[in-house]
């Protein structure tokens, strides 16, 4: 048990060492905050609108370490597990995965262009036109 906890701690160490992740949207969004469950539902395609307005989650590129960190932290899922999950939804027409951007630069451009978009970024990359909806514990 102790060994397991130690292994877990070692695995999580890099997460503590790096900057915190935040869930952000456009400054003009009518949303003020999200709870953890809403963030989970949003990034697993179970939530398509918030406060009566359509919302669109954004994903960083597949191998981006911030993306891996986000899903491991918020969903407890590896990239492979998320892939299998989305396979289920795609081939039943029940949902499509978050739009995948080419870089964190594109993420910022999209977030600035519409209040529908919601993404995750490192706290240090925050800009003035973004609103923080949730901070990962």
């Amino acid at each position: 048990m102790l060994k397991k906890a130690a292994v877990l701690l070692t695995l999580l160490m890099p997460l503590f060492a790096q900057a915190e992740l935040v869930i952000v949207t456009n400054q003009d969004s009518p949303l003020s905050s999200l709870n953890q469950n809403e963030v989970k539902q949003l990034f697993s395609g179970q939530l398509r609108s918030l406060a009566g307005k359509p919302v669109q989650p954004l994903d960083l590129p597949a191998k981006d370490p911030t993306r891996e960190k986000f899903y491991l932290h918020i969903m407890g899922r590896t990239p492979e597990q998320m892939r299998a999950y989305w396979t289920r939804l795609i081939f039943t027409g029940q949902g499509k995965p978050p739009r995948e951007v080419s870089s964190s630069h594109e993420l910022k451009i999209l977030l600035g262009s519409s209040a529908e978009y919601i993404g995750y970024i490192e706290e240090e990359a925050l800009t003035s036109n973004m609103r923080v909806l949730y901070q990962l514990p």
């Binding site: 469950n37 539902q41 179970q46 939530l47 398509r48 609108s49 359509p54 597949a62 969903m75 407890g76 899922r77 590896t78 990239p79 492979e80 597990q81 998320m82 892939r83 299998a84 396979t87 289920r88 795609i90 081939f91 039943t92 027409g93 029940q94 499509k96 739009r99 080419s102």
Partner: protein
């Protein structure tokens, strides 16, 4: 002097070169900007068409299985070699689970989309078939109406049975997923996503017509109406589903061929139902999945026995590797109403074709090679084919009598 001259010409040459270089840089910058604009436009249009696909190469073989096969002339003959879904102990069967599918999805306008999904499977000689073809309309962001050719949402994994990358096994628990053939219908459905507190739900209602070819005959199910409710709470997912239909099935009079007259047993808008309850727990490392299903059809003289089937799967993920264990079983409720049929023998033959009884243990493993590709291996040990009123090999070519009835499978799955 020559030094000064050289210096002056050198400076002159450099400044000319610099100005040429600056012009070139401007040009290049303009070109790069144009290319970027084109790329941005492209990334917008790539959102308009979405392509997805899946491929499975699966193989299967059995240990040496002996059993009883019913010969049309000699009756039951013992000690015969028995196969499972066309697989035997001689060779690897690479057809049964191998298949490929392709899906194209487009947005016609902001609210309307169209989907076409094509499947070619080894079971069907790789003849391409249209599995899905529908239009979807977002009445609201959380309310979607779809019309066209849709795969029936009978079981928890029904609608993606072909995309095997999505689930842990190679073969879905056969006693359950073999109860009712997974099929497409022509019709429509309505899906409403809503939440109550921290619990998310998806309520789906369907209506349409299904055409189900089986070895007994072609079942035509009219006014197939169903509903299913999926709920998500943290690591838990539950699903309940119920559907009803009016079933037609024409059975032939075989007396001219020296066979029985099966026409009195034809189905004419006979009531049928399918009910299922399922649950899943997945915390990222522990996976538990279970489903219980029941199929009933009001057939004349009760020749269609009500089938009840269930399975329970437990898996544990260790990094990329997930070993899993499944118990699965099916039992049929055979009644005595054949005694009052015009021909108890003919009625009995229909019962024996539709009865199902078997249990199995499956030990398997899935290894995620990378995101989008998985290797799988599993072995299924079948047992208990004989009950008080039933004796049936279900998916076997006869009734197995060997002590060990084991089926081995290997597969590589990809989704892209």
């Amino acid at each position: 002097m020559t030094v000064l001259y050289r210096l002056i010409t050198g400076i002159l040459a450099t400044s000319v070169a610099t100005s040429i270089w600056a012009e070139e840089l401007d040009d290049r910058l303009a070109q790069a900007e144009a290319r970027l604009a084109a790329l941005e436009a492209q990334s917008m249009s790539s959102e308009k068409f979405r392509f997805n696909g899946f491929i499975t190469l699966g193989m299967e073989r059995t240990n040496t299985i002996e059993g009883i096969v019913v010969d049309p002339a000699l009756g039951p003959v013992a000690g015969q070699p028995i196969s499972y879904r066309g697989s035997n102990s001689e060779n690897w069967n690479l057809r049964e689970y191998s298949r490929a599918g392709f899906r194209i999805e487009t947005d016609i306008n902001e609210r309307t989309g169209a989907v076409i999904q094509i499947l070619a499977s080894g079971q069907n000689d790789y003849d391409a078939e249209l599995q899905w073809a529908y239009l979807s309309y977002n009445i609201k962001p959380e309310l979607v109406w779809r019309a066209g050719r849709l795969v029936l949402p009978t079981y928890m994994h029904s609608q993606y049975t072909q995309a095997s990358y999505a689930y842990p096994w190679i073969e879905l628990p056969s006693q359950v997923y073999g109860t009712l053939p997974v099929n497409t219908m022509e019709g429509m459905d309505l899906t409403w996503q809503f939440s109550t507190g921290n619990v998310g739900h998806a309520l789906n209602v369907t209506w349409g017509t299904a055409d189900v070819p089986t070895e007994v005959g072609r079942y035509l199910v009219n006014n197939q109406a169903g509903m299913n409710l999926k709920s998500f709470f943290g690591n838990f997912t539950t699903r309940i589903s119920y559907s009803v239909g009016e079933t037609d099935l024409d059975l032939p009079d075989l007396t001219a061929l020296g066979g029985p007259d099966l026409s009195p047993y034809s189905l004419d808008s006979s009531f049928g139902y399918f009910a299922s309850v399922g649950g899943q727990y997945d915390n990222g490392s522990v996976l538990l999945i279970s489903e219980v299903v029941q199929l009933g059809v009001n057939a004349p003289y009760g020749w269609f026995p009500t089938q009840t089937a269930a399975y329970l799967t437990a898996g544990y993920r260790m990094g990329r590797l997930m070993p899993h264990l499944t118990w699965s079983g099916v039992e049929s409720d055979v009644n005595d109403r054949c005694a009052s049929a015009p021909s108890a023998v003919a009625c009995g033959s229909l019962v024996s074709q539709n009865v199902a009884r078997s249990k199995s243990w499956t030990l398997g493993a899935r290894y995620d090679l990378d995101a989008g590709i998985a290797l799988k291996a599993e072995a299924t040990s079948f047992y208990d084919f004989t009950g008080d009123k039933t004796a049936n090999g279900t998916l076997f070519s006869g009734l197995p009598t060997s002590n060990d009835v084991v089926v081995f499978r290997l597969a590589v799955d990809a989704a892209f």
